[in-house]
């Protein structure tokens, strides 16, 4: 019982029993409910659809598995196309988030501390309200009869020649709507890591650059921008990864003709009851997202090394 460690620098975690409980409980949970399910998905991707319940089966003899779904992944244009649309939409949304979020984050660092707190709260507040409702709010704005759409129409008609006039814009069920709502929903994920990064930057570096003859925009280009790259990468991945697998936004405001990959997975699984195909697309999507993640880790490690004194 009183088996107290005699090692120098003994810490409370030196005791075996403590260690085991602390490590094993969460580890076992994640293996049971995260790793095993994902292994099932991988295995499922090599099965074939069947009429029984659950609707899949393996080949009765060697090699038991088949690659038919993987071949279909590349032969059926639906999958390639939806992957491309997903990445394209996610990339555009990420870029727009960066273009809007960067000046915002930088702007926050330029006001006093209490104003910073208020602004951050104002940016996080919509994020704490329901995601669905934020998407819903835009549905209300984008309809042809909505004041927003009408306002855009009036402005547009005032600018263009009369022959180009329109009675309203088709915003709903377009790729444009998907990107717009994704920017709206994910913008805080860009602003917060950027702010965290920019806020830590030493203002005397800006002064030093200015002292050495740089005008404000040169200071930004030479000092602030290069030093905020880790923040840009973090924010970019926080937007890009969930955006490329997004399901809710494309199903509510997207066009059925240009499906995003998340929607395809759901359709294969739900209405088509093609579980092996759904699993295959899921595995493919995950592989696509692992690449940026590995890049991210690489950059993180490098930033960590550069930051150390």
């Amino acid at each position: 019982m009183s088996n107290i460690s005699n090692k120098p620098h003994a810490n409370w975690f030196n005791r075996r029993g403590w260690r085991d409980i602390i490590i094993v409980a969460p580890y076992a949970w994640l293996i049971a409910f995260f790793v095993i399910p994902f292994i099932i998905v991988i295995v499922m991707s090599f099965a074939k659809t069947a009429t029984e319940s659950p609707p899949f089966a393996f080949l009765p003899e060697w090699p038991y598995i088949r690659f038919e779904t993987y071949i279909r992944l590349f032969s059926d244009s639906l999958y390639i196309r939806s992957t491309f649309i997903s990445l394209y939409n996610a990339a555009i949304a990420t870029l727009l988030c960066l273009l809007i979020g960067y000046p915002m984050a930088l702007g926050i660092t330029r006001v006093n501390k209490s104003a910073q707190r208020l602004l951050l709260m104002l940016i996080i507040l919509p994020f704490w309200t329901s995601f669905l409702l934020r998407v819903y709010a835009w549905i209300g704005l984008m309809g042809k009869n909505s004041w927003f759409n009408q306002l855009l129409t009036v402005i547009y008609n005032a600018v263009v020649p009369s022959s180009w006039e329109v009675t309203g814009f088709q915003l709903m069920n377009t790729n444009f709507a998907v990107v717009l709502v994704m920017v709206y929903s994910y913008l805080p994920f860009m602003i917060l890591p950027l702010y965290a990064n920019l806020e830590k930057l030493d203002m005397t570096l800006n002064e030093a650059a200015m002292d050495l003859g740089s005008r404000p925009w040169q200071v930004f280009k030479d000092v602030t921008l290069p030093l905020s790259i880790p923040g840009i990468i973090a924010g970019g991945l926080l937007v890009f990864i969930p955006a490329s697998g997004e399901l809710i936004i494309p199903s509510l405001v997207g066009s059925a003709a240009d499906p995003m990959i998340g929607r395809v997975i759901q359709q294969e699984f739900g209405s088509n009851r093609d579980w092996p195909m759904a699993s295959t697309v899921a595995v493919a999507l995950l592989l696509l997202l692992v690449v940026p993640l590995v890049l991210y880790n690489h950059f993180e490690a490098r930033a960590g090394k550069a930051g150390g004194t």
Binding site: T204, L205, E207, D211, L212, G213, R215, L227
Partner: protein, 377 residues
């Protein structure tokens, strides 16, 4: 327009001219109506404690702050409304502010990007600067791969690269350890001498100011208390504040009891004795004064000296041996403690040479060594 000749002649003195400059931050007056002339090629120090306004004054010279009122001229040019990037002034920051994403030569060459130079000229200048601070071998390192002293030298090289008319140094030795400081302060003086650039150093460290600067301005609460060469400020402080701020000092209250030419006799109750002090100021009998003596200006001996003038007797209360010198705290019969500093010029052996705890000692204060300030201590 003046001709070149006239200009250099007239601007040698008052190369930097600060005219009744005041800086307020809302209610707080950081710099209060300061006027100051700094000569061309001078190494000038602004010395003071934290919050005395020295850094604010420096930042106004660099252009990061603008005066609430008053004007600043550099080489005859009014600096009002001139942005930091348009001033012929460079600064070495206290934190060094090296760009962490650039190499040493990238840092040193950064300011030259804005000069009309060919890439080759720029490269030559960077090399020249790096050899000046003896860092040529580290040109491709990043700041985080350098030691504190090396970073300090990169910062110095970077701020000198543009050959500014005025170089500002904010606590240039503050982050260095003691050994390195001594080495570096001579290096800075040498570089300043070689390049002939006007340096303004801000520091809270009086030793740093005294070894570096040719002239010092002592600042307190936004006001300049005294300006002069280090020796002058040390030996002839104009006020009790300056006397107390620069070096250590014994200060007691007293009263003038006799005036004879330029020598006055002061009765100091805390010393239990009267002292003869020579002074250039005029005092009248009965006037209250403060009497100040620096610890190293008091001589200490275990044998009774021949003279009886300005002789005090006491016992050694405390004693600290620092190698090159020793510090004593001597308890007078009145109970007052006096600090006395002696230089250990000879190698001491045995007990006979130094006084130690509880020893009875005699103190003599030369009449030229003591200083008098009007008003009570």
């Amino acid at each position: 327009m003046e001709t070149e000749e006239q200009n250099t002649e007239s601007s040698k003195a008052g190369f930097i001219r600060i005219e009744s400059v005041t800086k307020k931050f809302s209610d707080f007056v950081a710099v209060d109506n300061v006027s100051l002339d700094i000569n061309k090629g001078e190494l000038f120090a602004l010395l003071g404690g934290s919050g005395c306004g020295k850094t604010t004054l420096l930042r106004m010279l660099a252009g990061f702050e603008s005066p609430t009122s008053g004007r600043i001229f550099i080489d005859g040019q009014d600096m009002a409304g001139v942005a930091p990037y348009d001033r012929p002034v460079n600064m070495m920051f206290q934190s060094y502010a090296l760009f962490p994403h650039m190499t040493v030569s990238g840092n040193v060459g950064y300011g030259l990007k804005h000069e009309a130079m060919t890439p080759a000229q720029r490269q030559d200048r960077v090399k020249e600067m790096l050899s000046l601070v003896q860092l040529s071998h580290l040109a491709d390192r990043k700041p985080h791969q350098l030691s504190g002293g090396q970073r300090q030298r990169v910062a110095l090289a970077r701020s000198l690269a543009k050959q500014p008319k005025l170089l500002l140094l904010d606590e240039p030795l503050g982050a260095l350890d003691k050994k390195l400081r001594e080495h570096t302060q001579f290096e800075i003086s040498n570089i300043q001498y070689k390049m002939g650039i006007t340096f303004v150093v801000v520091t809270h460290d009086q030793e740093e100011a005294m070894t570096l600067a040719s002239r010092i301005a002592v600042m307190d609460q936004g006001v300049i208390r005294q300006i002069g060469p280090p020796s002058h400020i040390y030996e002839n402080p104009s006020s009790k504040f300056v006397a107390g701020f620069i070096g250590s000092i014994n200060m007691v209250g007293g009263e003038i009891i006799n005036v004879k030419g330029d020598t006055v006799e002061v009765l100091a109750p805390t010393l239990g004795h009267s002292l003869q002090v020579s002074t250039s100021s005029t005092f009248s009998v009965g006037e209250k004064v403060s009497l100040a003596v620096r610890p190293e200006k008091i001589s200490i001996s275990r044998k009774r000296p021949a003279t009886t003038a300005n002789l005090l007797k006491g016992t050694v209360q405390d004693f600290g041996y620092f190698g090159k010198d020793s510090l004593y705290r001597i308890k007078l019969p009145t109970g007052h403690l006096l600090s006395v500093n002696t230089v250990n010029a000879q190698r001491l052996s045995g007990e006979e040479a130094t006084a130690t705890w509880e020893d009875e000692v005699y103190l003599t204060i030369n009449r030229d060594a003591a200083m008098l300030f009007k008003g009570d201590a």
